[in-house]
């Protein structure tokens, strides 16, 4: 038990050092962006476009503009640590407030989509592996090929046309009908509804779920097809190993082998790659948010480009990337918790 704990500790420390290194690079990137964007660096950094010369002088002092670059960078980072990312150039609200208002919607959409993609993609991939080189396998591979080749904005528009306009089954835009008034607690719509004490709670919950279905399907389709392929490859690899042969030789039935031995080991292999797919999923979610008018951070970011809101772009970059890294790390931990080999490399071979 003691050994296990130290191993887990080393694993945790290694992950965290990587996280800090990553964050360090990210802040450097974002800091250098303020120089690269058109316009004055101080204004790009703070977003104070209407500031008077006196206010600018105060800001310059605050960000230590007269000192060398290193000091400037450190004062920028200390501002970040205090939650100060400057002000949006268009709405003149603090970037932090804007982000806190919008990030939960993106978190909700992407996490639900990730779960949906895994929930459908992985079992279907296993099916394909079990029927390797037979008709179901070819069929699943063909669907997967179409799934990750389809342009997401086109898919979104088609989904709106078919399911909201022609069939009228599902709403096409927004997060919830404006009729419902939900207090902003966590920002995650579904959680907020459950926490609220409104008498129309269940109607609101149903409405929010109906709003969620189409965007989630659009976001989840491409990652789901990638999970299908990953799961198929993983399952094929596992079915080829010696311990499966041993299990067969012992006389276990095929379903016993699949459920007890192969599936668990194959799932672990897939989970290792989920983190990498998450970045891809975020890209898809950004476009989907634009199409479905989803009040998330992706849509806000793309709108800030139209409006040349450079402070918002810097803030959005940091927050979205941090979100991706945190999900990465969580998935790494899940992987390590499920797979002893990842924790104890010394005993693995």
């Amino acid at each position: 038990m003691g050994l296990l704990k130290t191993n887990m500790l080393i694993f945790t420390l290694r992950r965290f050092s990587l996280f800090f290194f990553t964050m360090w690079l990210l802040t450097i990137l974002s800091f250098s962006l303020s120089f690269l964007f058109p316009g004055e660096q101080l204004i790009n950094l703070t977003g104070e476009i209407n500031a008077s010369p006196e206010q600018l002088a105060v800001l310059a002092n605050e960000y230590q503009q007269q000192a060398n670059l290193l000091t400037q960078y450190f004062s920028y980072v200390s501002h970040l640590f205090h939650g100060d990312m400057g002000y949006s150039m268009t709405s003149h609200l603090p970037i932090m407030t804007e982000i806190i208002n919008r990030l939960p919607a993106t978190v909700e959409l992407t996490c639900v989509a990730l779960l949906v993609a895994m929930f459908f993609g992985i079992p279907i991939g296993f099916c394909a592996a079990i029927y390797h080189r037979k008709a179901p396998d070819n069929f699943i591979l063909a669907i997967a090929m179409i799934g990750y080749s389809i342009p997401v904005f086109w898919l979104g528009i088609l989904a709106i046309l078919v399911f909201s306009v022609q069939l009228g089954w599902l709403p096409s835009a927004g997060q919830i009908s404006l009729l419902f008034e939900i207090k902003h607690v966590t920002g995650l719509q579904l959680v907020d509804i459950l926490l609220s004490d409104s008498e129309y709670k269940w109607q609101a919950f149903q409405d929010a779920t109906r709003h969620l279905i189409l965007p989630v399907i659009v976001v989840a389709l491409a990652p789901a097809t990638i999970f299908m392929r990953l799961a198929r490859t993983a399952m094929l690899e596992v079915l080829d190993t010696h311990y499966i042969k041993a299990a067969k030789a012992k006389g276990l039935t095929f379903s016993q082998i699949i459920y007890r031995h192969a599936m668990r080991n194959a799932v672990i292999k897939v989970i290792r790659d989920v983190g990498l797919q998450f970045a891809h999923l975020i890209t898809i979610a950004m476009v989907t948010e634009v199409i479905f008018s989803w009040p998330g951070i992706g849509r806000w970011l793309i709108e800030s480009i139209y409006q040349r809101d450079y402070t918002a772009i810097q803030g959005g970059l940091i927050v979205l990337s941090t979100f991706i890294f945190i999900v990465h790390i969580i998935i790494d931990f899940v992987y390590a918790a499920l797979n002893p080999l990842a924790r104890e490399p010394n005993h693995g071979t």
């Binding site: 990587l18 290194f21 990553t22 690079l25 990210l26 962006l33 690269l36 964007f37 058109p38 090929m145 179409i146 990750y148 080749s149 389809i150 342009p151 997401v152 904005f153 086109w154 528009i157 088609l158 046309l161 306009v165 990498l276 970045a279 891809h280 975020i282 890209t283 950004m286 476009v287 634009v290 970011l301 793309i302 480009i305 139209y306 040349r308 450079y310 772009i313 970059l317 979205l320 990337s321 991706i324 890294f325 990465h328």
Partner: protein, 297 residues
């Protein structure tokens, strides 16, 4: 019986020939490859074979449906858009923009990425470790987000989009070249030419590149499908090609408002993107399959 070959000659096909031999086996891949060649031909010949120019207005034929519907006109095979521009011509011109430019983008980032990757494979120690981590960070930022940031620096427009996508794709090539070169450097045949006194650059050029080229091509097809989707996505978001250009993504964005009265203005560009990405992916799939077969033998 005539014997063409008197001497039994042993032939050693080059890695590329071996790749082609394995590549052409599955029929689906050959169909994809055929579509890919067709798209290249279309991209090259678009300006010669299109019936109309991409911006020519036919004001008496606005929003004409495709020829197979009752109101269609056979001289506008795929119908016209809201300004009376021929959809077929625009789609064909779009091939040279979306598909053709994606090839150029991938070539450019392939060359830059391979140069940086092979140089970094020759270095070691702290420098290479920092580069490795740096690549990890860049690779984990969503490509569209990076492209958007670069577009924000350079300003919108098709040319800037292309630069942005080139930059976004470079890290992938650096990563794969670096790993492949390192892997090859550890092999015995490299040691043999090193003992013969070959310099690192010479080894890279004559021994290693011929052996990793198929990995690079396979990565290039992956990158190309990303590039097509990204050019189209940025065009659709209004950050890439401006609306009058027949770029598929921009055409789609242009058609959205007319979706309910003229759905073909949205269906057709989307299908064109889907078709070209599937063709590219099939070629890539065949390439990876061929690589796997070669590894197994």
């Amino acid at each position: 019986m005539a014997r063409d070959k008197i001497y039994l000659e042993e032939e050693f096909p080059t890695p590329l020939m071996q790749l082609w031999h394995n590549f052409k086996q599955p029929p689906v891949v050959m169909i994809g490859f055929g579509c890919f060649l067709f798209l290249i031909a279309l991209a090259l010949l678009a300006s010669v074979i299109t019936p109309y120019s991409s911006v020519e207005n036919h004001l008496d034929h606005l929003l004409l449906p495709p020829a197979w519907s009752d109101e269609g006109n056979v001289s506008f095979l795929l119908g016209t858009d809201n300004l009376g521009r021929d959809m077929l011509s625009r789609l064909m011109h779009g091939t040279s923009l979306t598909f053709g430019l994606s090839i150029i983008v991938v070539m450019a980032s392939l060359v830059i990425g391979v140069i940086i990757g092979s140089l970094s494979a020759l270095t070691s120690g702290i420098k290479s470790s920092i580069l490795n981590h740096f690549l990890d960070v860049i690779l984990s930022i969503p490509s569209l987000l990076l492209a958007i940031i670069i577009v924000a620096i350079l300003g919108p427009g098709l040319e800037n989009t292309l630069w942005a996508i080139i930059m976004v794709l470079i890290p992938q090539f650096v990563h794969i070249t670096r790993n492949a070169v390192k892997e090859e450097f550890a092999k015995d045949y490299v040691l043999a030419s090193r003992l013969d006194g070959a310099s690192s650059i010479r080894i890279l050029w004559y021994s290693i590149f011929p052996n990793i080229i198929e990995k690079l091509i396979s990565q290039a097809t992956l990158a190309q499908s990303t590039a097509i989707l990204e050019i189209a996505a940025l065009g659709f978001l209004g950050l890439g090609a401006p609306i009058p250009m027949p770029e598929w993504g921009a055409m789609l964005a242009n058609g959205i408002d007319l979706f309910y009265i003229a759905p073909w203005t949205v269906y057709l560009p989307g299908l064109a993107i889907l078709f070209s990405v599937i063709a590219t992916n099939l070629v890539g799939e065949g390439m990876r399959h061929a690589l796997k077969v070669r590894k197994e033998n």
